[in-house]
């Protein structure tokens, strides 16, 4: 990996690629791949800016931005196969969108309205998108890790040539289920890729306080498989690393861990105030490692998306986002009958009785 590792303030080298090296590393379709990734990154950034704004205006209840993670998310989406399954951590919503989850449906989840397939049951940024193999997430850190192992086992048993991708952050490496999941995967040798998105902060705790090891990636060795680190602000590096790991997994070479390191460029969530814990200058340093700021000069150099085309692309995405918001925001909340559905396949007493007396109860006429 030729690009500079994060963590060296003020010393950010340009992405070290030219047409030849890209063709060699990414393949003959490198231009399309790079443009797809760039468009995805822009969509992620624009959505974050727009939705944080809506949250501040009280139009969305909560928002968890992924600024800084765009290169990793977009490159992962480009490298995965259609049949692969994604177990998201906290900030991989963009992966669902880039795998084809419709933007208006995603927004309906944020607004918690009737077009949300999960019927407004989860707080924003918790989409569920089975149609693109994107598993419903809980807010509990690390729980998805052994689940991805189970799905990988099922994929193998059913003879499906696909992998399970478990995404989680640096904080999750301290969870019990990180240990459980990686240990099971090592023993069972199933096709699961552990994608550790290290944005260097778990709310207020820096990664250096999360673990005493030099790099989180090396934890994989203790479970009997390889772990490697990649610059998560370099989409080419992430794309190649995920693609190569995926190919190894499909050959039956057992699980892998990939640690993508980047900078959290925004608060943990709309409820967080990082000035309470981040050292002065962190924000500036993070901006130096802005993945979009790194990719755009390369695109310019390659003549792929020159300035005016970039502006047009940005406008096009902004329009798409604006129209989707306009179409989705006014929709009504899910119907009250949805309160009583999906807890069980077929509800039974006392739930059915609660449902049947709901109208009366809500009207203040208790039986």
């Amino acid at each position: 990996m030729a690009s500079s590792p994060p963590g060296e303030p003020g010393d950010v080298l340009p992405l070290p690629y030219d047409a030849d090296s890209l063709a060699r590393r990414v393949g003959p379709a490198w231009k399309e791949t790079l443009l797809t990734i760039y468009r995805g990154m822009l969509l992620g950034r624009i959505l974050d800016q727009r939705l944080l704004g809506l949250q501040r205006q009280g139009r969305v209840g909560f928002y968890g931005p992924a600024m800084g993670q765009e290169a990793t998310n977009a490159a992962v989406a480009a490298a995965l196969g259609k049949e692969d399954w994604v177990f998201p951590g906290l900030r991989e919503q963009l992966v669902a969108l880039l795998r084809g989850h419709p933007l208006p449906v995603y927004l309906a989840q944020l607004f918690g309205n009737e077009k949300d397939p999960a019927r407004g049951r989860q707080m924003p940024c918790h989409p569920t998108a089975r149609e693109v193999g994107y598993v419903s997430m809980s807010s509990v850190i690390g729980n998805q890790i052994p689940q991805a192992v189970g799905t990988a086992w099922a994929l193998r048993r059913k003879g499906v040539a696909a992998i399970a991708l478990a995404c989680f952050g640096d904080g999750a490496t301290s969870s019990g289920d990180f240990h459980a999941g990686l240990n099971f995967a090592g023993v069972l040798r199933v096709p699961v890729l552990f994608l550790l998105t290290n944005n260097q902060w778990a709310i207020s705790l820096p990664a250096s306080r999360q673990s005493a090891v030099a790099t989180l990636a090396e934890k994989a060795r203790a479970y009997g498989f390889s772990g490697s680190r990649v610059d998560g602000t370099d989409p080419v590096a992430v794309f190649c690393a995920v693609r190569d790991a995926r190919e190894a997994l499909l050959k039956g070479e057992g699980p892998r861990l990939l640690e993508a390191v980047f900078y959290r460029m925004a608060p943990h969530s709309s409820s967080d105030d990082p000035t309470r814990y981040q050292p002065p200058g962190w924000g500036e340093e993070a901006r130096l490692h802005d993945p979009l700021g790194r990719l755009e000069p390369l695109l310019e150099k390659l003549g792929l998306v020159p300035g005016p085309a970039r502006d047009r692309l940005r406008e096009e995405i902004e329009t798409e986002v604006r129209q989707a918001i306009q179409a989705t925001e006014p929709l009504p909340p899910p119907g009250p009958e949805s309160l009583f559905e999906d807890t069980y396949r077929h509800p039974f007493p006392p739930l059915t009785e609660e449902r049947d007396r709901f109208d009366t109860e809500q009207g203040g006429h208790f039986p």
Binding site: A118, A154, R345
Partner: protein, 325 residues
Amino acid sequence: MTELTLIQGVNQALREAMKADPDVVLLGEDIGVNGGVFRATEGLLKEFGEDRVMDTPLNESGIVGTAVGMALYGLKPVAEIQFLDFIYPAFDQIVSELAKLRYRSGGQFPCHVVLRAPYGGGIKGGLYHSQSTEQLFASIPGLKVVVPSTPADAKGLLLSSIFDEDPVLFLEPKRIYRSLPGEVPDGDHRVPLGTARVAREGSDVSVFAYGAMVPVAQQACQGLDAQGIHAELIDLRSLVPLDEAALLRSVEKTGRAVIVHEAPRFCGYGAEIAALLAEKALYSLKAPVVRVTGYDTPFPYALEHLYLPSVDRVSRAIERTVRAA
């Protein structure tokens, strides 16, 4: 019909399910080569292979988390938790994931896992091999909780659980794993979840029990016949869903209720039954509802015979109820 023990009923159900459906897979600690510490999975590794009978590392959260992932992709995993006492590392996976996946995904990700766990006392197991904590799980929306008390029901309820569409915690009364053999129907014998069993008909008082307390209550009821007290014994079989109608029907007939369980009384499952009777059968009751339960302490070792509801304690409670009014 074949005479089998309860644990053999479990084993037969697993074998039938695996023969009927290639998606049924087993996982857990010591369940493969060793056939399970209680031998519930004896012979299954040999018959179905490592691909379907998986000895796992020793981590309950890993077992349940892995089972969840298998189920999400369409397998029907049956995971063994060696003792209910060891299930708590997996509590998060059960409460936050297994029980909520269907709901939080709007039905996109139903997650049908069966968790089998031996539970209860009477085997000199002390605090960590004896507990009954079914009430913790019965209070989690999204889970079903099933407890057989006979070999036939162990088979029939387990088969129904495996082919149900919701996650099921299947609690096995290990105290009577081998002590009370009974006739078990051959083949694909299923007992629907949510149906209580009238273990004994009677007219004077309704006794509600489940699991290993059913034979204790049965003996108590039989002993009272000589005194002219005819007790009806209802084996709940399924705590969630609860067969409310069967309970109410019985109390409407007898006007009296005694509830028996091993778990501590406070906030125990019996409290739910007592509340149900207060809400829906109050005018049928002729006497206060009585609970015979474990004491509100952790589970003891040396004095477990005094902690667990005994035939004698249950008999006295029934008598007291009948004589109350």
